[in-house]
Amino acid sequence: MFCAKCGSKLGADARFCGACGAMVAAYAPAPAVAQPVAAPPAAPYHAVRCSWCGSPLDPTATSCPGCGGNVSEMAVSTRSGWLQLPGRKDMAKLQFGQSTCQIEGLYVPVADMKLAPGDSVYFAHHVLLWKDPDIAITAMSLKGAWKRVFAGMPLIMTQAAGPGRIAFSRDAPGELIAVPIHPGQSVDVREHLFLTATGNVVYDWFQTGIWFSTKNGDETETHYPVGAFMDRFSGTQQPGLLLLHAAGNVFVRTLGPGETMLVKPTALIFKDPTVQMHLHFERPQTGFVAWGSWGNRYLWLRVVGPGRVAVQSSFEHLHGEASYMQGHSYATEMRW
């Protein structure tokens, strides 16, 4: 018997793989509580859709062609309703347009693209890992791009057009998330998570309007817990592909209209544009002056449905602790 995830040899009665820790399929909690995830009755060839990205699945496929997720790990959701990003086999392959993308490696995955003639991708120039010598890279003009700075560097979007091969990775460990963008669909992504997108996905950004300012002595500082800007990626007529890089494990859920959830601001990965957000503070109802310091508050981002929200399990800490809050964007407060 061999491990389905890493291929290591297993004992005959093993429940878990000694090399990678994966649960042996026979013992896995039947993921297929067989919720036929929105199986459209009119599509006899695609009885099942990917639980993560909604792409139709071939009955014989072991991984989703839209996002690379393992079919055997589909629809694994927590009791509270968060759907986990399906695991991905090393070398899983996705398709977009006439082009393909293979995702290689498990610590710092590489998106290795084979671009067909006429297909193109764009990316921030520092994520390029390697390319064929004859694939051309050009700068993309962006309105207002000079206002934004990516980790101290000017944001320069570059694009590469097929035919040829080009590969991308980030300079930190994490997970590579494939988000297929269907025609007419948009997603809002927290800044710095973008890796690359296909040329038929429209890129724009907007101000989040989520901020608070702190005062420390005479110094006032404004903090943006979900970033001052968010990236918005929108589909056109053809389906597109967006690749993001996130830290830790990734979970998504769909909020109903008016349904809310409090999330750590820096854990947010993406949301549908229909999902609204604002700050929420909690603190004990004591008279201590020290509780006026925001660092002692519980600072949340409230997301309000309808729409999808995705979070990552590893997140950065917010700066400005132990400073007194001076002002903030619209927020609710709860004292207990």
Partner: protein, 274 residues
């Protein structure tokens, strides 16, 4: 006790290092690659470095190297008398008290500085145990060097090397300012003369290798370069991006031209642009 005559017919060749192993082996004796897992090669031709199983033991000369852990793996060496290994001192994790350390005599080594420290290569001599690891998530890449091989490695990426291998370094003039902030770039060069040796590297993230045919080339982010056969040439090419209101940023890529192997790491070392 059994029939040693029949055995050579049933040997398994390791797909990573080409060494021959007994048919019953689960991991390669010379490089630790699992023998019961198929090779992972991307459609674009990059082969993923083998994922060495936790606690795999690798043999070199009369000594062994055990690879422990999977996220930031440790290479634990059990040196037998007469064997020695060399390394940079910042990768030492622990050692037996009795293992003697000495410095390798290098010509010109003091001209090369690492983070303000003089560049030194230390030598540990058996018998005894000594262990090494590095400061980030990554993979150990074991390159058994057969006689006559010459490999160039990104500086500070080599974890340890056995004493049969000759060490030197080469300075690459063209890469100044791009890779190491104006100090130029050195590559470590490992050459085997008579007998085979063991070279262990640490790559950030995942490690991939491809073999370039004569004249074939590939463009790399310079921070992704990990190792190459010395027959592969490395040239830097610049491309100016965004002339308009951005003021322009220059992107540099390293053109690697075959024949020979090229190894890359997926978590590239980021170089600040000026």
């Amino acid at each position: 006790m059994s029939t040693p005559v029949a055995e050579p017919l049933e040997r398994l060749q390791c797909q990573w290092c080409q060494s021959l192993n007994p048919k019953s082996a689960l991991a390669c004796r010379s490089c630790g690659a699992p023998l019961d897992v198929r090779n992972l090669v991307s459609e674009s031709g990059w082969r993923e470095a083998p994922r060495i199983r936790d606690m795999t033991e690798i043999h070199f000369s009369n000594s062994t190297c055990q690879v422990e852990g999977e996220i930031v793996p440790v290479a634990e060496i059990n040196l037998s008398p007469g064997d020695a290994i060399f390394f940079e001192h910042h990768v030492m994790l622990w050692k037996d008290e009795t293992v003697p350390l000495t410095l390798m005599a290098l010509s010109g080594g003091f001209k090369r500085a690492f983070a303000g420290m003089p560049f030194l290569i230390s030598v540990a001599t058996g018998p005894g145990r000594i262990a090494f690891s590095r400061d980030a998530t990554g993979e150990l890449v074991v390159l058994p060097l057969h006689p006559g091989m010459e490999v160039d490695v990104r500086e500070h990426a080599f974890l340890l090397s056995s004493h049969q291998i000759q060490y030197s370094f080469v300075r690459i003039e063209g890469l100044a300012n791009i890779l190491f902030g104006g100090q130029g770039m050195y590559m470590d060069r490992f050459v085997t003369a008579g007998s085979p040796g063991l070279l262990v590297l640490h790559g950030y993230g995942n490690v991939f290798e491809r073999v370039l045919k004569p004249g074939e080339s590939i463009m790399l982010e310079p921070g992704a370069f990990l190792y190459k056969d010395s027959s592969v040439t490395m040239d830097v090419e610049f491309q100016k991006l965004g002339a308009g209101f951005f003021g322009g940023t220059t992107m540099s890529l390293a053109r690697m031209t075959g024949p020979g192997r090229v190894g890359i790491q997926s978590m590239y070392v980021h170089h600040k642009t000026e």
